[in-house]
Amino acid sequence: MDGYLGPYATVGLLLLVGVLIIGGAFTANRLLRPSRPNAADGKFDTYECGLDPVEGGWAQVHIRYYIYAYLYVLFAVEAVFLFPWAVVYLAGGAKVIAEMAVFVAVLALGLLYAWRKQALRWL
C-alpha cells in the first residue's frame, strides 16, 4: 500500500469491503428468511393514497433553484483555488495571503449583490 496509487488502493479496498459486508448481509437475509409469497387480489393496487399516476412524473422547477445551483458552482470554483493556496500560504507569506483575500473579497461582493437583490430570500 505504498507508491503513488497506494492510498487510492486503500480507499478501493475499503469500498470493496463495504460492498462485501452489505452484499453479504442481504444474501444472508435472503437465505435465512422464510419465504411465503402471498399474491392476494389487489395487493399491488394503489389504494386510498397518492396522486393518480397519469402522464409522466416530471415537474418543472422554479428558476430560483438555478440561481442557487449557479452560486454553488461559483463557490465550488473558489474552493478549488483555495486548496492549492492552503498548502503554500505559509511559504508565501503575507502577499499570498493578501492575494487570496482579494480574490475571496471580490467573490463575496457577488454574494453581497445577490443578497441585496433579495435573490437569497426564498419568498
Binding site: 499570498v96 449583490y113 441585496r116
Partner: protein, 516 residues
C-alpha cells in the same frame, strides 16, 4: 513544502489601467447593491466614465514615460505592455469611452436602450409595463467595464493561458450585454444564446490549441514558443495543429469567414449601443491578440500560415462583401460590412513587419470611430416600435432630415473607402503594407471586394436621397447630449483621419513593435 514562493514583481505603473477598470467594475457592483434605484444610472455612468478616463490618463502617462524592452514585461513575463500593447490599450479605452456614451443614453426612449429586468417573461403583462415605464438595468456599466478590462489584458497577454482567461473575461460580459435589449427581446436573447454557444466552442478550440502548442514547445509563453520554433528539430505537426486551433478561436472573435456566421444575428439582436461596442472594441482586442500571437509567438512559421490565413482573408473579404449586397436590414448590412473589414485588417496583418502592424493599428482606430458613429445614427432613426432598421424604411430619409442623412452618407462613403475619409487612408495603409510585404494577390482581392462592397452602401445612399418619403418613413429623434457627443466624435475623427491622418499614422508607426 520546503522552498518559499518568490512573489513576482508587479509593475503597477503598467497595470494601473486594468486595476482601475476592474476596481471600478467591482465598485459598480457595490453601487448596484446599495445605491437607491433613482440614482444608480447617474452614479454608474459617472463612475464608468471617470474610471475609463483615469485608465486612459495612466496609459498616456506610461507612454510619455517611454516603453522600452526592459520595462515592457511584468508579472514574471506573463504580461507584456509594450508599445503596440499600449497603443491598443489606449485605442480600446478611447473607443470604449465613446461607446459608453451610447450605452449611457437615456433620453431617446423611456429608460434607455436596455431592458429593466431581463428575467421577466417576454410578452407578459409585467413585460409590457416595464417596457413602457421602468428605467433600464444599470448592471450594463460594470459589465462593460469588465469587458473592457478583459480586452486590455487580452491585447497585452504574453502567455497563452493569460490570453485564454482574458478572452473569457471580455467575452462573458458581452454575451450578457447582448441579451438585454429593451425592444425585440426574443431576438436579443436568441442573439445572446447563439453568441454564447458559438463563443464557447471557439474558446474550447483555443484551449485545445494551447494544449497542442504546449505539447510541442513544453511552454505556453510566447518567448519560449518562439525559441522552440526557432531551434527545435521536432516535427511541426503538433505546432501546426495547435496554431490552427488557436487561430480558429481568434478568427471567431474577429469574425473571419468560416467563423463569421454569428455576426449578423448577434449584431442585429444585441442592443445597438452594445453592437457598436462590439464592432469597435472586440474587433480591436481580437486583432491585437491575433497579431501578438502571430508576430511574437509564431514568427518563424511565417511561411506556413501566410497562405492559409491569406485564403481566409480573401474569403472574408469576398463573402462579407457579397452577402452585404443581399441584406435588407441596416444592422445586418453593417454586420456583413464588419466581416469584410475583418478581411481588410487580416490583409494588413499578413503584410507583416512593422508596416503591417502599424497599418492594422491605424485601421482599427479609424474603423472603430466610423462604426460607432454609424450605429449611433441607427439608434436615432426610430418609430413607435423602436429603431427602424429595415432598409425600406430609410427611403426618403434625406428629404425628411437632410442633416442626419448627410452624416450617414458621409459615414457610408468612409466605409466604402472614398478619399477625404478615414476609410480611404486606412485601406491605403493596409493595402500598402500588404504590397510591401509581397502579398499583392491579397490586395487584388481587397480592391475587388471593396468595389462589390461599395454597391450596398451606394444603394442606401440612393434610397435615402432619391426616394420620396412615405407614410412609414420614421422620424429622426433629436439625440441626447451623450449620443450627440459620440456621434460628433465619431464623425469628426472619421473626417480628420481622412484629411490629416499624419499624427495618428506617426503614432501607429511609432507604436508598431511588439517586445518579445
Amino acid at each position: 513544502m520546503g522552498d518559499t514562493i518568490s512573489f513576482p514583481h508587479l509593475d503597477y505603473a503598467a497595470l494601473w489601467p486594468m486595476l482601475i477598470l476592474f476596481g471600478a467594475a467591482c465598485v459598480g457592483v457595490l453601487v448596484e447593491a446599495f445605491v437607491p434605484k433613482a440614482w444608480r444610472n447617474t452614479v454608474q455612468l459617472v463612475l464608468s466614465l471617470l474610471a475609463m478616463g483615469a485608465a486612459l490618463v495612466m496609459v498616456i502617462k506610461r507612454a510619455a514615460a517611454g516603453v522600452t524592452a526592459a520595462n515592457a514585461h511584468t508579472a514574471s513575463d506573463a504580461i507584456s505592455i509594450d508599445k503596440a500593447g499600449l497603443f491598443l490599450q489606449g485605442a480600446l479605452l478611447v473607443l470604449g469611452i465613446v461607446s459608453l456614451l451610447l450605452i449611457g443614453e437615456r433620453t431617446l426612449e423611456t429608460g434607455g436602450p436596455f431592458v429593466a429586468q431581463a428575467a421577466i417573461t417576454v410578452g407578459s403583462e409585467a413585460d409590457r409595463r416595464q417596457a413602457a415605464r421602468e428605467s433600464g438595468a444599470t448592471e450594463v456599466y460594470p459589465l462593460a467595464l469588465f469587458a473592457l478590462a478583459g480586452m486590455l489584458l487580452f491585447v497585452t497577454a504574453n502567455d497563452l493561458l493569460v490570453m485564454f482567461v482574458a478572452l473569457e473575461v471580455f467575452s462573458l460580459p458581452l454575451y450578457l450585454l447582448c441579451a438585454l435589449a429593451r425592444r425585440k427581446r426574443l431576438l436579443s436573447q436568441e442573439a445572446a444564446v447563439k453568441y454564447f454557444l458559438l463563443g464557447a466552442f471557439a474558446s474550447a478550440f483555443f484551449l485545445f490549441g494551447v494544449a497542442m502548442v504546449y505539447g510541442f514547445a513544453n511552454a505556453v509563453d510566447f518567448n519560449s514558443i518562439h525559441a522552440n520554433i526557432s531551434t527545435s528539430d521536432k516535427p511541426f505537426a503538433l505546432l501546426l495543429i495547435g496554431l490552427a486551433m488557436l487561430a480558429i478561436g481568434l478568427l471567431f472573435k474577429v469574425a473571419a469567414v468560416p467563423f463569421h456566421v454569428w455576426t449578423p444575428d448577434v449584431y442585429q439582436g444585441a442592443p445597438t449601443p452594445v453592437t457598436a461596442f462590439m464592432a469597435a472594441c472586440t474587433k480591436a482586442a481580437a486583432f491585437g491578440g491575433l497579431a501578438r500571437v502571430l508576430y511574437v509567438g509564431f514568427d518563424r512559421s511565417n511561411w506556413n500560415f501566410t497562405p492559409v490565413l491569406g485564403v481566409i482573408a480573401v474569403l472574408t473579404m469576398l463573402v462579407g462583401a457579397v452577402l452585404a449586397v443581399t441584406q435588407t436590414d441596416l444592422k445586418r448590412l453593417l454586420a456583413y460590412s464588419s466581416v469584410a473589414n475583418a478581411g481588410y485588417l487580416l490583409v494588413g496583418v499578413l503584410g507583416g513587419g512593422a508596416a503591417g502592424l502599424s497599418s492594422m493599428l491605424f485601421y482599427l482606430v479609424a474603423y472603430g470611430f466610423a462604426i460607432i458613429a454609424a450605429f449611433a445614427l441607427l439608434t436615432l432613426v426610430r418609430d413607435a416600435d423602436g429603431e427602424a432598421t429595415h432598409l425600406s424604411r430609410w427611403a426618403g430619409l434625406g428629404r425628411r432630415s437632410p442633416f442626419f442623412a448627410s452624416v450617414f452618407t458621409f459615414l457610408l462613403l468612409a466605409f466604402a473607402g472614398l478619399p477625404l475619409t478615414s476609410g480611404f487612408t486606412a485601406k491605403f495603409a493596409v493595402f500598402g503594407a500588404a504590397i510591401g510585404g509581397g502579398q499583392t494577390w491579397l490586395v487584388l482581392f481587397g480592391v475587388l471586394s471593396s468595389i462589390i462592397l461599395a454597391f450596398p452602401y451606394l444603394r442606401v445612399i440612393v434610397m435615402m436621397w432619391l426616394s420620396e418619403p412615405g407614410d412609414t418613413t420614421p422620424s429622426v429623434s433629436i439625440p441626447g447630449a451623450l449620443t450627440s457627443a459620440a456621434l460628433m466624435v465619431g464623425v469628426l475623427v472619421t473626417l480628420l483621419l481622412g484629411v490629416a491622418p499624419s499624427s495618428l499614422l506617426d503614432l501607429a508607426n511609432n507604436a508598431a513593435s511588439f517586445v518579445r
